[in-house]
């Protein structure tokens, strides 16, 4: 599903990632851990084509992301859901419209959009707030809207960057539970976090990054 071969990424000649080798199977739930600045966000960005590696190859669903043309990147992203720490919701659109965005940019029909948005909102338990603007929601609710938007298109892969970063432990645990449910339906999930609570609760394969190096991966015997 996701494969990295000798991947390196530099910012101003300083390595943010160096020589990463990694393999993630379909349906896995993987945690990407490590202190701030370890390169977690950078790794996720490489996976959805927001950055390009300076070295190595990246295969996502057998597509070579490192070689993808810019015009193909939108189509890669349509197979993925992305959850951000800072939610990134459109402030002037209501919850329904925000969640519908990935469908809308693909030109989905009104009928299909209604059905899928309702489903996604229900999956994260926020369907009663569909007419609200993001600003009127709590942080936990906003994060759930963000997750609904990420799963509305039935993505093959869900990438989440510090999804609990702005949440208290109770809300964080709710979010982890949602991910587990989504994963149980077959979506491959990769969550980047430096929150040990997430690690303890998720109880899944953990990849450890430190200063851009992969220092622990049970599958690779690290």
């Amino acid at each position: 599903m996701i494969q990295l071969f000798h991947v390196s990424k530099y910012y101003d000649r300083r390595p943010a990632l160096s020589d990463i080798n990694l393999q993630i199977e379909k349906g896995e739930f993987v945690l990407l851990m490590g202190p701030s600045g370890a390169g977690k966000t950078t790794l996720l960005k490489l996976l959805f084509g927001a950055e390009r590696p300076d070295d190595g190859q990246i295969l996502v669903q057998n597509r070579n992301v490192a070689r993808l043309r810019p015009s193909d990147i939108p189509y890669l992203r349509r197979t993925m859901g992305i959850v951000f720490q800072d939610f990134r919701l459109l402030p002037k659109k209501n919850v329904f419209e925000n969640v519908a965005l990935p469908l809308m940019v693909q030109g989905a029909s009104t009928f299909e959009t209604r059905r899928k948005v309702a489903e996604a909102l229900k999956a994260v338990g926020i369907d009663h707030k569909k007419d609200h603007r993001p600003a009127t929601l709590s942080a936990g609710e906003q994060q759930r809207v963000c997750i609904a938007r990420a799963i509305v298109n039935s993505p093959i892969i869900l990438l989440a960057d510090e999804p609990t970063g702005n949440l208290d432990p109770h809300l964080a645990s709710e979010i982890i539970e949602s991910f587990k449910v989504i994963n149980a339906r077959g979506t491959t999930i990769m969550v980047a976090t430096h929150n040990p609570q997430v690690m303890a609760q998720a109880n899944r394969r953990v990849l450890m990054l430190e200063q851009g190096k992969l220092i622990a991966d049970p599958k690779a015997g690290l």
Partner: protein, 299 residues
């Protein structure tokens, strides 16, 4: 459908987002096109006058007195076969004299003392439309004077030629003014769009993350530019129409007396449409420019 509605709505949001700069952009486009339009009006109207005058260009070929009947008919044959000649009419010496007497009755005594009729016979040639340019006429007339039996050749060229030159200058002026002002208005529209682009940078980023194509993201901004431009074009037409009517009013009875009024015409419908389209194109180009710059800056 939903997607189209979204794109149009976004464009409208863009326009509302910074009203002042939008107004400036529309006004500058209107100004550009109005300036260009003044030249265009002048040009089209004068060109109309020139071509109606050129229709009247007649070349008078005077004949030597001693020409025999056979020589005359040969010459007539020959002239008829020239590509430049559309129509030909013969004016005999007697006819010329009669015409002269009729046109200048008080001067006819001048001819009295001369005994013999001093006026030459002539052919009056109407030129075919293809050869009405002054250069072509000049060439042909030069050639004609060397034909045996032909005396002087006369045609009313100078002031038509001057007018044609003037029209040429106006054409150049229109192109120059149009070019410079268009560049200015593209720049102004581009900076207007740039403002919206930066104001909406976060939204653009979000659209990218959820898999929107570049085209999808760009459409609202291109639409915004095109709408601004087209509204500017419309406004310029209003300005021009106002100015045109005012000018006609100023001309008043004098204009009517001189018959100028009937020559003055506003743009025909299709030219008006072209002006609006030009505004639209300017606006579109403006947003394209800013999108390209923005794309470079954000990647």
């Amino acid at each position: 459908m939903r997607r189209l509605a979204y794109l149009v709505k976004e464009a409208m949001t863009n326009i509302r987002l910074n009203r002042t700069t939008t107004l400036v952009a529309v006004a500058s486009t209107a100004f550009t096109l109005a300036c260009f339009g003044v030249f265009l009006l002048l040009y089209l109207n004068l060109r109309g006058v020139v071509s109606s005058l050129q229709d009247d260009i007649k070349v008078v070929v005077y004949l030597h007195d001693g020409l025999s009947a056979q020589g005359l008919s040969d010459l007539q044959q020959r002239l008829r076969s020239e590509r430049e000649v559309a129509a030909l009419s013969y004016v005999s010496k007697e006819q010329a004299l009669a015409d002269f007497r009729e046109q200048f009755p008080s001067e006819s005594h001048l001819l009295q003392g001369l005994g013999e009729n001093p006026l030459p016979a002539s052919f009056v040639v109407t030129l075919s439309p293809r050869f009405r340019s002054s250069e072509a006429v000049k060439q042909w007339v030069k050639r004609l004077t060397t034909v045996p039996g032909v005396g002087q050749v006369q045609y009313s060229r100078d002031w038509i030629e001057n007018l044609a030159t003037l029209v040429g200058f106006i054409e150049l002026g229109a192109i120059a003014v149009g070019g410079i002002l268009s560049a200015a208005s593209v720049t102004i529209i581009a900076s207007t769009i740039r403002l919206t682009l930066y104001a909406r940078q976060n939204e653009i980023e979000i659209l990218r993350m959820v898999g929107a194509t570049g085209a999808f993201i760009k459409v609202p901004f291109l639409l915004e530019g095109a709408v601004l431009g087209a509204v500017g074009g419309l406004l310029s037409l209003a300005i021009l129409r106002g100015g045109f009517d005012l000018f006609k009013l100023q001309l008043g009875p004098t204009g009517r007396f001189l018959g100028i009024e009937s020559w003055l015409n506003f743009f025909p419908g299709h030219v008006s449409l072209w002006i609006i389209m030009a505004g639209l194109a300017l606006g579109f180009t403006g947003s394209l420019v800013s999108l390209i710059q923005f794309g470079r800056a954000s990647s």
